[in-house]
């Protein structure tokens, strides 16, 4: 079937199999390999991307469902050569080790800070509780998100949330 979706600001129009999972479309067809495939069952969150304004687990989203919608992946977080404060926080606070869960964690963290600019450690843990990291024991992920929140001066808008109607 034919779809048109906008990924990281670039439009894609083409044929996809109706059963094609979004994670495989992003990775295998668009070559955006920053999002990872970890569990098949929506438990691990290594595949989290934004669909329009919301983090979703792309291993359980059909590409066909994204027709006419916008997707943001880790490759779209850096803007004009500047890292999102969340990316910067993860690097500064040792919020990652193997790097496999990191893109999904960062995208959820970005969403959290957009909605709660000054989250407590408990709120950060709650927001990330649908995702799994096998390396960090989570402590440094919490520190990373806190660092990003502080860096943004608590306004939560240091990132680049796609505003409705933003130029593609």
């Amino acid at each position: 079937m034919q779809i048109t979706i906008t990924v990281n600001g670039s439009a894609f129009t083409g044929e996809v199999e109706p059963r094609l999972l979004l994670i495989h479309f992003l990775r295998d067809q668009l070559g955006l390999t920053g999002s990872h495939w970890g569990c098949d069952t929506s438990n691990c969150g290594a595949c989290v991307v934004w669909l329009d304004e919301t983090p979703v687990k792309s291993c359980t989203v059909l590409t066909a469902m994204t027709d006419g919608r916008r997707v943001l992946t880790v490759e779209g977080m850096e803007r004009d050569g500047r890292l999102d404060p969340v990316q910067e926080g993860f690097a500064r606070c040792h919020g990652l080790q193997c790097g496999f869960c990191t893109p999904g964690m960062m995208l959820t963290a970005r969403w959290l800070l957009d909605h709660n600019p000054d989250p407590s450690p408990e709120e950060i843990r709650e927001a990330l509780s649908g995702q799994v990291c096998r390396c960090t024991g989570y402590e440094n992920i919490v520190r990373s998100v806190r660092w990003a929140a502080q860096q943004q001066g608590g306004d939560g808008r240091g990132g680049h949330r796609l505003a409705p109607g933003e130029a593609q």
Binding site: C44, V74, Q97, E139
Partner: protein, 790 residues
């Protein structure tokens, strides 16, 4: 070489070099690799745990328009590849020919144009099975009349694999006979799975023209894998290149060679095109290297006033359908016999019997330090059980029996020589951070109110960095590691190491080691790893051996560079090499320290037309191989505070205090991260995780919906402390840290929960302490957690 570490300016917290790519989503994991013309493989797996294969019909699959090849056990037999050797020198089926022996075993391999078509074609393969009786319970594997799983082995009439023992039985019996107090306990360290977030996979590219075989694979040991591939596949070793790109966590799961790798190689050879095979999560959990599955009986002997005298253990080890555990050859039960732990006792003896069952093969994984997890769990549970028997505080009992600093180097009753330690200091620090006495007062007050909190302690001694090659080899390969160091004319360096990072930050830590030895910036050192064409031979990364072995090789290679540089510097400064001393990162003239030259200037001179004295040919490059004289012995004291809801059995880890000592720390930020990881492992193992089976051998832990991993809400904010007791025999005084917390944390959590449940008379319950399990224990019922979790 000096053993005493000096203060080293290059050491300290430093942002990781590898993170620049990871935070941008630009890592390169195996599944990210796309080659022109690449095909995709998928494995058909057995739905049954034990069955004879009557017929395999691949006709329909082969007719699928997008399928290029279908490979069966029969086809592999013709190539001599239907079976492969395991690390324990058993044979493992690549694709089943005669029987299937565990649920999820590999039966056929499809090569297709894309991953979905490959999966479609699996559905078209018809396999006729004849069901056989199943051995799912290790405790019944040796019963008379038990079905024989390995009837492929000539003369095999039972499921027995080996008996092994260590220690002095006679002396131990004598100590027990004379002791005031003897207590025993059965305990299970249940089967768990390392579950790295990236599953295992490979891209195999066999070039029919050059005869080269290039393998991008999730390997913790690329050099050892290359040798094994050469032996298994029969290709000359110089024609094989193994590349481990970025690895999404390993924890021992990526140490073995799996049937899927061999199938992908055969698929590539057969089609002449690259073949990618990446397993899904269920395949990972159901078929690849599991951990533990040790059924243990411990006994401890002591005087009435709490002096521990002796320890005994009998273990029934469930190795699954093929003996594929990974450990040095001489030690079929790994390093379990370090089970006397951190205590000064007179005698110890352990016996291990291993059996086959209709379960997946493996056994040594999940950061277990070659079975030291099981050993530490046993002794630390026994110490708590003894404390309760004696009516002593468990901290007091440990303090009374810990090895004292003056006893090091200490030879334990089973022969290990611990290199260095100050144990009472670490325990005192943990108790101080925890506010131990105040916690006990809080606990007493809460018990009055019918609230149940527990305080659990564990003290562990690890043995990591295998190992002395006279005693330790894997498949005949001595456990040494190499490092090569190239120094460019401008003084920047490229280090090649044989170990392989899976997230541990080697690109940063090893650059810091070189920088510290050569007086240059870590930014000027590029670390190459995970490519057998570009790095020297070595056994790889598992058992916390990277810093103890490869880190040592790195320091030795850098010191060779430094010694060459000294000769060049002597020509530059026109003095004798003996008149030079290394200080503050430069060679300096003794008595005239301002007259000095550093590595960058020396490197340029070494490449220049400067006439060089005897002993140096030009350039500063060097290679080193490090043969560890001994293991390194990190240690730690952990305290866990839990709250238990007696109505639901729910356990909450409220606090976790961890004091670790891994000798000299190169990058404390990375060390801290390693500890955090292992503590989370402990929460998972103690409270959530088990790969259980039903009576038919169905795996009950085959997805993350059933095999539970700790998330951010189950983990507390870790409270860390550290002491630094350098290893006297390691070139930079470092010890391993990668597995300490995984080894040390589960007994602290279980001890804490058992402490909370003491008012109910509960002395022991097996992991995982799920709400159902804890609730049952409170009701006086003990669950077998390995057969089914109810």
């Amino acid at each position: 070489m000096t053993a005493a570490p000096e203060r080293n300016g290059a050491y300290g917290p430093m942002r990781r070099k590898e993170d620049a790519r990871f935070v941008r989503g630009r890592g390169t994991f195996v599944d990210d690799i796309q080659l022109p013309g690449m095909l995709h493989g998928a494995i058909l797996r057995s739905p049954m745990a034990h069955a004879r294969i009557v017929a395999v019909d691949t006709t329909a699959a082969e007719a699928h328009p997008r399928v290029e090849a279908v490979i069966t056990g029969q086809a592999l037999t013709e190539l001599g590849l239907a079976w492969m050797p395991t690390i324990s020198r058993d044979a493992q089926s690549v694709l089943a020919t005669d029987k299937v022996r565990f649920q999820g075993q590999e039966v056929a391999f499809v090569v297709a144009h894309d991953r979905y078509s490959a999966r479609d074609a699996l559905e078209l393969i018809q396999v006729e099975y004849e069901a056989l009786p199943v051995v799912a319970d290790a405790q019944r594997a040796l019963e008379a009349g038990a079905p024989v799983i390995r009837d492929d082995l000539p003369g095999k009439a039972s499921n027995h694999i080996f008996d092994w023992e260590a220690g002095d039985k006679t002396a131990t019996d004598a100590v027990f006979a004379a002791a005031d107090v003897v207590v025993g306990q059965d305990m299970l360290y249940p089967r768990s799975h390392p579950a790295p977030l990236e599953t295992c996979g490979i891209v195999a590219d066999a070039d029919p023209v050059s005869g080269r075989l290039t393998l991008w694979s999730t390997s913790q040991a690329p050099h050892a894998h290359r040798t094994v591939y050469a032996l298994v596949v029969g290709l000359p070793e110089h024609k094989i290149r193994v590349v481990s790109p970025d690895i999404g966590g390993g924890f021992g799961n990526k140490a073995p060679i799996y049937p899927g790798y061999i199938c992908a190689i055969v698929g590539s050879m057969k089609t002449g095109r690259p073949v990618k095979w990446v397993e899904d999560r269920s395949e990972n959990l159901m078929s690849t290297a599991f951990a533990r599955d040790y059924h243990m009986h411990g006994e401890i002997a002591a005087t009435a006033d709490g002096k521990v005298l002796g320890l005994r253990a009998r273990v029934l080890a469930d190795h699954g359908a093929f003996n594929a555990t990974a450990q040095p050859t001489k030690f079929p039960a790994g390093f379990f016999h370090i089970f006397t732990g951190s205590y000064d006792l007179r005698a110890a003896h352990c016996e291990v019997t291993a059996v086959y069952t209709n379960k997946a093969p493996g056994g040594v994984a999940y950061s277990c330090s070659f079975r030291i997890t099981e050993a530490v769990y046993l002794v630390e549970r026994m110490m708590d059980i003894l404390a309760r028997e004696l009516g002593m505080d468990p901290a007091e009992l440990r303090m009374k029996n810990l090895l004292r600093p003056e006893q090091f180097p200490y030879t334990c009753p089973t022969g290990w020589q611990y290199d260095s330690g100050d144990y009472p200091r670490a325990l005192a620090m943990a108790m101080d951070i925890a506010g131990y006495d105040e916690l006990r007062r809080e606990q007493a007050a809460k018990r009055e109110r019918g609230e149940y909190m527990g305080i659990g302690i564990s003290f562990f001694t690890e043995g990591v960095g295998a190992g002395p090659r006279a005693h330790m080899d894997i498949l005949g390969l001595g456990m040494a590691d190499g490092a090569s160091l190239r120094v460019h004319p401008t003084g920047t360096a490229v280090l090649g190491v044989s170990c392989q990072t899976q997230g541990q930050g080697h690109e940063t830590t090893f650059a810091q080691i070189v920088a510290g030895e050569l007086g240059i910036s870590p930014d000027d050192v590029e670390v190459v790893h995970g490519d057998t064409d570009r790095t020297p031979f070595g056994l790889g990364t598992y058992g916390s051996r990277s810093t103890p072995v490869s880190g040592a090789a790195t320091a030795m290679a850098a010191r060779k560079v430094r010694e060459r540089a000294r000769i060049v510097a002597s020509a530059m400064l026109e003095v004798s090499p003996d008149d030079l001393e290394w200080a503050d990162g430069k060679w300096r003239v003794r008595g005239d320290p301002e007259k000095a030259t550093g590595i960058a200037e020396i490197a340029m001179a070494a490449h220049s037309s400067l006439e060089l004295p005897a002993g140096v040919e030009g350039h500063l490059d060097s290679e080193a191989v490090y043969n560890p004289p001994n293991l390194t012995f990190p240690f730690g004291a952990y305290i866990c505070v839990t709250d238990v809801d007696p109505g639901t059995g729910q356990v909450t880890v409220r606090r976790f205090i961890a004091v670790d000592d891994c000798g000299v720390q190169i990058n404390p930020m990375i060390v801290e991260g390693q500890v955090h990881r292992g503590l989370a492992d402990g929460v998972g193992m103690a409270l959530m995780q088990v790969i259980a089976f039903d009576a038919d051998g169905n795996c009950l832990g085959g997805s993350f919906m059933d095999y539970l991993l700790p998330t951010s809400v189950e983990c507390p904010s870790w409270e860390l402390g550290e002491t630094v007791t350098p290893s006297p025999h390691h070139p930079i005084g470092a010890k391993g840290i990668g597995e300490s917390a995984t080894v040390g944390s589960p007994p602290a959590i279980v001890n804490s929960v058992m402490d909370a449940l003491a008012p109910f008379g509960v002395r022991h319950a097996d992991m995982p302490l799920t709400p159902a399990n804890v609730w049952s224990a409170i009701q006086g019922r003990r669950l077998r957690t390995d057969l089914a979790v109810t």
